[in-house]
Each structure stands twice: as C-alpha cells, then as structure tokens.
C-alpha cells in the first residue's frame, strides 16, 4: 500500500517508529497532488516550499523529542480559515487578494501540534452552497466519478481527503457543509457541538450556526483531530469553557447499552433515493449487530427545518457580509466617485450570484415590516426544532439517518434551481439549528459506485458516543480502505 493511502494514525505510527520522515511523507503527498489535482481541483493555494520547510522542522522537533500530537502530518484547510502566510479567498472574488494578518485559532492549534500545512482548499463562495459549484475559482470534481459534484460547501476538503491529497482537512459546517461533502466523497466528517471548537479566524457566514470540524480518512483520525482543535478560546466568546475528553478513548468495540433513535420523518416515502435508503438501512442493521438498541422516534417539525434555516442563515449572512464594503480589505471598485457608489459597486463586483441571493433574502427578512413575519418567526420555529431533538434524546443516545437524501449528482444538474438545492439540505441543517454534534460516516455505495454516508447525531457535547457508534459502524460497513481510481 502506498504511503499516501494510509490513515493519519498509521502515518503517525510510522513517523514515531522512524519508518518514514515528515519530509518523505510530505514529498509523497505533494507528488500525489501534482498527479491528481489537475483532475480533482481541490486546492486553491498549494504551498510546496512552505510545506517542505515545515516538514523539515517537524523532523527536527521529533528528533529532539519535542513532537506534538500531529508532528509531521501534512494537512490542508478550507479556504475560509485565516492563515497568516497564505491567501484566504473564501472562494470569492471579493477576497481574491486577501492575506490575513493572523492565523485562525484552529490553524494555530494545528501548527502547535506540529502539522504541516500544505495549502488551502476550494469551497463554495463564503461557504454558501451544497455542490461547491459556487466557487469563483475552481470547481472540484468528485474523486469517485469526476462528472459528479463533490458536495459543498467544504467540497475541496472532502475531495482532497478522498483523493489522498492530504491526510486530513478542516472544514466548516453551517447547514451540512462538512457532513454532506464527506458523505458524497466517502470520507468521515464531523460537525462538533456549537461552542466545542473556536471559530476565531473562520470567516463568518451565519454566526449562530457556523462550526469548525475535521474531514478524515477514518473515524480514529477524526478523533485525533478533534483532540487537537477542541477547547475554549478567549478570542471566541461562543466557545465553551469545559474540559475536552480524549476522543480516541471512545473508540471501543460494542454498542451494548447504547440506544439509537430512528426518526420516522426521515424515512417517510419519497424523501430518500432508494440506494441511499438501502445502504443506510444496512448500516442501521450493523449498528444493531454491534449491540445497539433501536427505537423509533419522532421529530415532528422536520418539514419546517429548511424554511427556518433559509431565513435565519441568510439573515445572519446579510449582516456578517456587510463588512465587505471595499474599505479595509477585499475588492474595491476604484472607479467609483462617491462613497455610496464605491460600496455598492465593490459589493456588486466582488460577490457572486448565490451570495447576492442570500444577502437579498436576509436583508428582506430583517427589513422593516418583515422582521416579525420572517426572522422572528423562523427563530421561534428554531426553538420548536431544538425541542424536538431534546425530546428525542430523552429516549435515545443517538439519532441515525442518511446525510444527503441522494448520492452525488452530476455537475451542472441543479445549478439553476436554488430552492431544489436548499431542499437537499433537509437532513443536515437541524443539527446546526439545534447546536448538536453530528457526524457522517462512510456506509456503502450506490449502484453507480458513488459513496453514501450515514449520519449520527447526539445531544450537546456528547461527541464520545458519536465516535463510539461511528467506530463500530466503520468496523462492519466494509468500506474502509476502498479508494477511488483517479489515475
């Protein structure tokens, strides 16, 4: 097996046992990127020299006995994490030339853990999208079939991990943007509890929903990364000051004593593609085999999730994105002769279609005369949705469902129908509205050979039980180690 296809955990073992150096590992990954990225197009910025320099430093640190928990591991991050040394474009013409003056807290944590930062990964503009086709720069291709979407908005992160162009990646998840591309590309993706991971230096989309998380080759790798990135940060007042368990300790065989709820609304006729339903039902049977008890539960407000989300998220986005005015950073139309003209021409020239659409929806939902009918109403429905989940969690430890109602679809297929795309987020957005942790675990394949993930959701800060169930599913699903053929 080639060195690039091994897991992050295995790479750490080999580095510890001096079977490989970080420089050799990094060179192997850079060669892989050279070979496949022209076909996959996951990277927006690749820092070859910087990566090799960091790898040399990691090898020195390890020799000195000063190796951090990710010492020498080549990783990459979505292009909405601020990085001092590299551009942070957010997939937008607005930030095409932006180089942040500081690192995001999670980037600092990766660096302190000894990771090698390879570069920045493509995404839907400002993380708005479910296909990664809203990038102003490159649209990535699904490694399992390059005619198909990667999913989004962390499409570059999912594709890069699936194609072995890095050992793991970070993404951000506002309504499924880690879990859905992870599912569609056949990798593990976790959206932690709101407040578990610092968002300082993550370019804001919808602040009550955004959360940072890992995309990895397997469940153990995800736990290793969560150990590094979790925790309180005084620079993010929404991060919570509570201790971080060692998530790898949750990776235990057997699910005896664990109750898993099956939300009946998710399996009602017509919502799920037959292949998705079949694979997920097999996954549920495997969780039962591992010892879990299954119960049927109800989330009565499921039908209202998309509507609530697509008012709240655009409302928050319209406010967050007001900062892009052409003055302090970002694109400026320098031909404008007045201040107001400069604002509007810079914003109109810098933002793409989907971002404008969401700013318009959000501005409308917050505007005089509409606030009560839209934003306030949606925030009340959000309470009802959260209560559904809290009630379900009195009867079970976990909820199981698909991640996406369908496998990946063809590039271009739904590009002109924004509402149809919004509706495809139905299974993932409620975790963001409720603030709970959720995870996508590879579970099987469609008849066309496209990956299908299973989603697990738990109550606030119960990531360990997610890891435990995910680990047991992974042991049984038989998809670990299956790789797409790219070249």
């Amino acid at each position: 097996m080639s060195i690039i296809t091994i897991t992050l955990a295995e790479a750490l073992n080999r580095l510890r046992n001096q079977e490989v150096t970080s420089v050799a590992l990094t060179e192997a990954v850079l060669d892989r990127i050279t070979a496949v990225d022209p076909l996959i197009q996951a990277y927006l910025t690749l820092d070859r020299e910087g990566a090799l320099r960091q790898a040399e430093q990691a090898d020195v640190a390890r020799k000195k006995g000063a190796a951090g928990p990710l010492c020498g591991i080549p990783l990459a991050v979505k292009d909405n994490f601020c990085t001092r040394s590299l551009p942070t474009t957010c997939g937008s013409k607005m930030l095409e030339n932006f180089v942040a003056p500081y690192d995001a807290t999670v980037v600092t944590k990766l660096r302190q853990a000894g990771a090698v930062l390879l570069g920045k990964l493509t995404m839907d503009e400002f993380a708005m999208g479910s296909t990664n086709e809203n990038s102003a720069f490159t649209i990535p291709h699904n490694p399992w079939n390059r005619d198909f979407i990667t999913g989004g908005s962390s499409g570059g992160s999912a594709a890069a991990v699936a194609a072995d162009e890095c050992f793991a990646a970070l993404g951000s998840d506002t309504g499924g943007s880690i879990r859905q591309p992870a599912s569609l590309c056949g990798v593990v993706g976790m959206k932690p509890t709101y407040g578990r991971v610092s968002r300082y230096g993550l370019v804001a989309f919808a602040s009550s929903l955004d959360q940072v998380g890992p995309l990895t080759k397997d469940v153990r790798d995800c736990a290793i990364l969560m150990n590094v990135i979790s925790g309180h940060d005084p620079l993010d007042s929404t991060s919570q000051n509570r201790s971080v368990p060692d998530y790898t300790e949750a990776l235990q065989e057997g699910l005896h004593g664990v109750t898993i709820g099956i939300p009946q609304e998710y399996f009602k006729s017509g919502l799920l593609d037959p292949d998705v339903e079949k694979v997920v039902q097999e996954g549920i049977a495997q969780l039962k085999e591992a010892g879990a008890e299954l119960v049927e539960v109800s989330l009565p407000h499921t039908d209202y999730c998309v509507a609530a989300f697509y008012l709240i998220a655009p409302a928050e986005a319209s406010s967050n994105l007001a900062r892009f005015d052409g003055v302090r950073y970002g694109y400026r139309d320098c031909d404008a002769t007045s201040l107001l003209e400069m604002y509007s021409r810079s914003r109109s020239g810098g933002f793409g279609d989907e971002v404008k659409r969401r700013i318009l929806i959000g501005t409308h939902a917050l505007s005089a005369g509409y606030y009560d009918a839209y934003y306030r109403k949606a925030s009340q429905v959000r309470t009802l949705i959260r209560e559904d989940f809290m009630k379900a969690f009195t009867r079970c430890d976990l909820l199981v469902s698909p991640v996406s109602p369908t496998p990946a679809w063809k590039l271009g297929e739904k590009i002109n129908d924004p509402l149809a795309l919004y509706l495809s987020d139905i299974l993932t957005i409620s975790a963001n509205l409720s603030g709970i942790p959720a995870m996508s675990v590879p579970c099987g394949f469609s008849r066309d050979g496209l990956p299908i993930g299973l989603q697990l959701q738990a109550s606030h800060f119960n990531e360990p039980v997610l890891f435990k169930a995910a680990f047991n599913l992974e042991q049984r699903a038989g998809v670990t180690g299956k790789k797409p053929v790219i070249v």
């Binding site: 932006f98 180089v99 003056p101 500081y102 709101y194 407040g195 009550s208 005084p234 007042s237 919570q240 407000h301 209202y304 998309v306 509507a307 697509y310 319209s318 005015d325 052409g326 003055v327 302090r328 970002g330 694109y331 400026r332 320098c334 404008a336 002769t337 007045s338 201040l339 107001l340 003209e341 400069m342 509007s344 021409r345 914003r347 109109s348 404008k356 659409r357 700013i359 318009l360 929806i361 501005t363 409308h364 505007s367 839209y374 109403k377 949606a378 925030s379 009340q380 429905v381 959000r382 309470t383 009802l384 959260r386 924004p418 509402l419 509205l433 409720s434 603030g435 709970i436 606030h460």
Partner: protein, 95 residues
C-alpha cells in the same frame, strides 16, 4: 409570498448591491419561489414559543477590560485597496 421587482430593487439598495435588469428579474423569480416556500412556517402557531437566541444555554460572556496589544497599523492597512500608510483612503464624503 410573492415579491415584486420593485421590492427586490429596494432590498438591493438597502444591501448596497446594484442589480442590472436581467439580474433583478432573475432574483425576483428566485426570491419569489423561496419566499413562497418559507411561508409554510405560517402553518405553525408560535404565539407561545420563545425566540431561540442560543442553542446551548450560553449567557453573556464577560471579561476584564484589560489592555492587549493590537494589530500594528501597517498590518491593519495592508489589505486595503487604497491607503496612504496612515489611513484607509475613500472617495471624498464632505464636499
């Protein structure tokens, strides 16, 4: 709920976005179908329901008002399209 092109142009102006005619028409159609869809929230009676503010029980977070180092001026200005080494430069506001 439908939205007219005039309303879309008004919202665009509030959001400081210029839309050309083609864009305004397309956005009117798309926003119309999205707003029609979200109107399904009206099916729910929420008169007794609290507005969600936080999802995990967090209250206000305070800290001591301590002085910390801030970004040096050259770094704060570095990403501006037009600056003069001391300040961001914008078109004249007062004639």
């Amino acid at each position: 709920m439908k939205i007219t092109k005039e309303e879309v142009l008004h919202v665009a102006q509030l959001a400081r976005l210029d839309l050309d005619i083609e864009e305004a028409e397309r956005m009117t159609d798309q926003l119309g179908s999205i707003l029609t869809y979200v109107a399904k929230l009206d099916e729910l009676d929420t008169t007794q329901v609290a507005v969600a503010t936080h999802t995990n029980g967090q209250n206000n977070v305070f800290r001591e008002d301590e002085v910390h180092a801030s970004l040096p001026r050259d770094q704060a200005l570095a990403n501006s399209a037009v600056q003069n080494g001391e300040a961001f430069v914008v078109p004249r506001i007062i004639g």
